[in-house]
Symmetry: C2
Amino acid sequence: MRDRIIQKAKLAQSSSRVLANVSSDQKNFALVRMAEKLVDRKDYILEANRVDLENAYRKDYKTAFIDRLTLNEKRIYEMADSLKAVAELPDPVGEIVTMWKRPNGLQIGQMRVPIGVIGIIYESRPNVTVDATGLCLKSGNAVILRGGSEALNSNIVLVDTLREALREAQLPEDAVQIIDMPEREAVDIMMKLNDYIDLLIPRGGAGLIKNVIENSTIPVVETGVGNCHTYVDKDADLEKAKNICFNAKVQRPGVCNAMETLLVHKDISHQFLPEMIEMFKNAGVEIRGCEKTLAICPEVKPATEEDWYTEYLDLILAVKVVESVDEAIEHIYKYGTKHSEAIVTENYTVARKFLNEVDAACVYVNASTRFTDGFQFGFGGEIGISTQKLHARGPMGLKELTTIKYIILGDGQVRK
Amino acid sequence: MRDRIIQKAKLAQSSSRVLANVSSDQKNFALVRMAEKLVDRKDYILEANRVDLENAYRKDYKTAFIDRLTLNEKRIYEMADSLKAVAELPDPVGEIVTMWKRPNGLQIGQMRVPIGVIGIIYESRPNVTVDATGLCLKSGNAVILRGGSEALNSNIVLVDTLREALREAQLPEDAVQIIDMPEREAVDIMMKLNDYIDLLIPRGGAGLIKNVIENSTIPVVETGVGNCHTYVDKDADLEKAKNICFNAKVQRPGVCNAMETLLVHKDISHQFLPEMIEMFKNAGVEIRGCEKTLAICPEVKPATEEDWYTEYLDLILAVKVVESVDEAIEHIYKYGTKHSEAIVTENYTVARKFLNEVDAACVYVNASTRFTDGFQFGFGGEIGISTQKLHARGPMGLKELTTIKYIILGDGQVRK
């Protein structure tokens, strides 16, 4: 198995050298061909997906799992559309990010270049196979895909289709590799291939991400866990606050940028919480409150210490009344995951303090945390949301799949 | 030992939260006080250094090692000057790198912020203790220093001095921590403290760097190994070529941006090599050549396969005659370390090809590779030269010791 994986990684690496220097036109042609081929081949893809689904049903997976695994005609068209959208995005490769001139006449510039070979380790979501391939191709990178074993049949047919499109575009099909071995050992091997893989991006649950961070010797960009807070300040516009909090919790509770804990300043808690909690209850949200919350809304379930740490990804919300913006910032520092944090306030100084002092990928004033997303930010695509500080932070688009090299133009300069 | 190291890391972490939000004035005041105190205390520092030097002499270390370990009055003034120079640099923290407006009115910006706690693992060079502390402080980071055990006495006195200056500036002295345990185990413990340290930067020889990359669970920025090439094209201006090559090899051979292999196009090899090699020989450079080089200059020592891989860091140079720019690029790809690579040519298309296709931190046209340096690039300081692709590539100045956070300013926006 090790040899086969290394073989795939080597092929990806040599393809990446070609991809780094092909024209945008050629990459865009390949992306559009990929989209067309997915639609052409939809029957084969759905057939393979049916096999995966039957296996999953037999193993009694949860509804959410089955839903993520499921492909249908609509989803295939969506995947195709997302490839076409990536083709429309500007090519990041070759951009001169900045260039300056030194007193000795040297011109020094940063040129955006692909990273090389990117490994993606993800769960049983066939759409990630297509989305990740599209973004890696556009940014000039080869990709090695390791999806969840329950989606293996779907992924094999998808990758086959994508590689055929690369061939037709006269690009190296080996730029897209799939680790088609269901064994866990395959991931262990992949995580140590520093000589061939430049970056690993784990996408999925906390367990998957933790495993990669602890065991990979390849640089990792950590994505995802979001224990997000919204703090409603004493100087908040309470109408805005209600809309923002409701949106952050209810609009799509199962995702990493949804609110998990609501922090409310004590001075407005009596005025704000009863109506807010009523809104949440009507939307089916279970509330778990601190003692002060319970004093205001006695019907609420008490929160435990564990609740403050929990990313529910569900219609559950922890609520805490705080003494001050400082207590809110301390709570976020202690329990947060540095993903997305929001304040609702009309007070300039408090807003500025929150923006400066909260340490998170995305810090909001008077808006829903649900905007932490590559599309919402205007990147036109997203490979994940980085919750680490190195290399990329927050939503990662095409630029975050590149690095720079310095180009230095001289006319004979030597160092004195 | 573990508990003591964790204790230090915790203190660094809590100090880093303070440092992240202090004014530039306060940081600059501390930097200037550090500089003044180093000079005030120079007798104590030199005394501690004398103890380290005596131990090192007894252990029979090489001259280069002793030289790097040695402090004297001039070097103390240089360290002080470098701190003052860092005080003069613009503060990177708080800069809004970019900000844009979305159709829904949200303003999204990238704000430059400190990384947090930076660990530096380095050899027995006391000047790194001061330089790294200065750059970390200016960029708002706490620092945990782990220098070579042979410099421990010097480092303890230096850190003591630096911390005293922090106290006088009313900044948390715990922002500068020294791992004052000579045992190797201390490094092993430090490399696993993901909860407290955000970034590790190893500075030193290949063995030290390899150890950190393979064993650290904390993100690492790899610095340093430079097997740098200069390719003299058939369309080179041979006078420029001679100056550039001579400078790249001879001006300071012991550093990572010095040339280690000279590649020469076959068409000009007969014209160029005899005179070039004569110049090198007069400067005491030992030449190791390929067969074609030997055919032109028979007195040259033959190169082995190992020579192409070697970073000599000495007055030794490998020389190879190549058929084409493509062969030069292939040679660099195979043997290079992606540090600094140069072409000498007057040919526009060849220069453009070399710039695009060579994968290295710094790619030069018609200039000496010796310019790969934070000061030469105009950064005013340097914490190291990254040879990896993630987060930072090439010379790392203050900006490379920061990350960004997204700030999102709204007036009640919710996601639809």
